[in-house]
């Protein structure tokens, strides 16, 4: 099995997930938030592929989940960026603190 226990791969993906969470907590720029979400989705993909390869090598479900997650992530990024560009057009800013028109 390549000489690496599965827990090491899972630890890398967990660390990547929490790095993405840190970015989500500290950033206040919509495009940076989108980048952090991409990091989180990628860590989930690593988990799916690792579980499939190490624990259920006869099946391919994890690989298919990864493919579908990548597709949904592409759709999510496209919609998110369209919203960001529209927001910039109406508010001249992409900071989350400035997008408070619907807050109250």
């Amino acid at each position: 099995m390549n000489g690496i226990p599965i827990t090491h791969i899972l630890f890398v993906s967990t660390a990547l997930f929490f790095i993405g969470m840190y970015g989500l907590f500290t950033r206040r720029n919509l495009i940076s938030l989108l980048m952090s979400v991409e990091l989180i989705l990628n860590s989930v993909n690593i988990n799916f592929v690792a579980f499939n390869k190490y624990l259920y090598p006869g099946k391919m479900d994890g690989v298919f989940f990864t493919i579908f997650i990548i597709t949904v992530a592409a759709a999510e990024a496209a919609v998110g960026i369209a919203i960001v560009i529209n927001l910039y057009r109406s508010h001249q800013s992409i900071d989350v603190e400035d997008a408070a028109t619907m807050k109250y």
């Binding site: 969470m21 206040r28 940076s32 993909n45 690593i46």
Partner: protein, 171 residues
């Protein structure tokens, strides 16, 4: 330590280091470039795990599509050379605390659980993936494939509608 292990640890260190740079740098264009190299590193990890098809999809969709889209939107919406304001110290400390405690909890759980790897060969060649993707019987993924294609179409039309320029008279 074999060559395969060394490659894994080097790749993991590169992925985590570049990801940390990507979420901490204050220039947004640099953040996008660090993100690009992180995604390339993750594709390398997929190559290391023998899933070459997923690695290729990762490079095509993430590196070639999403990051380029993000860079375009950075150029469209703000001065890319400008530094973003640093987050307040309290927020930074709270975020580090939350992330580190979550990571510790998950790592402890991972350590307690013993996984028993199966001893079979793993074959995820493109041919096998394609056959099962379009299989309509048991274990096939034809229905999710169609559903996700409709989702992608709806998302693309939605993007065009959202980002379309409205005429000044309509406002």
């Amino acid at each position: 330590m074999t060559g395969s292990q060394i490659i894994f640890y080097v790749l993991s260190a590169a992925i985590l280091g570049l990801a940390v740079l990507s979420v901490t740098t204050r220039k947004i264009f640099r953040a996008a470039i660090w993100l690009l190299f992180t995604l390339v590193g993750i594709a390398g990890l997929y190559f290391w795990m023998d899933v070459a098809f997923i690695a290729a999809v990762q490079i095509i969709v993430y590196v070639g599509g999403i990051v380029v889209l993000i860079i375009f939107s950075i150029f469209l919406t703000q001065q890319s050379g400008q530094e973003m304001p640093a987050p307040p110290l309290l927020r930074k400390v709270a975020a580090v605390l939350a992330a580190v405690s979550g990571l510790t909890l998950s790592a402890l759980l991972l350590n307690r659980h013993s996984f028993t790897p199966a001893d079979a060969d793993f074959d995820a060649g493109p041919e096998r993936i394609g056959m099962q993707m379009l299989e309509t019987g048991a274990g096939g993924f034809a229905l999710p494939f169609e559903a996700v294609s409709i989702l992608l179409l709806a998302a693309m039309i939605g993007c065009i509608v959202i980002a379309m320029k409205t005429k000044p008279a309509a406002i």
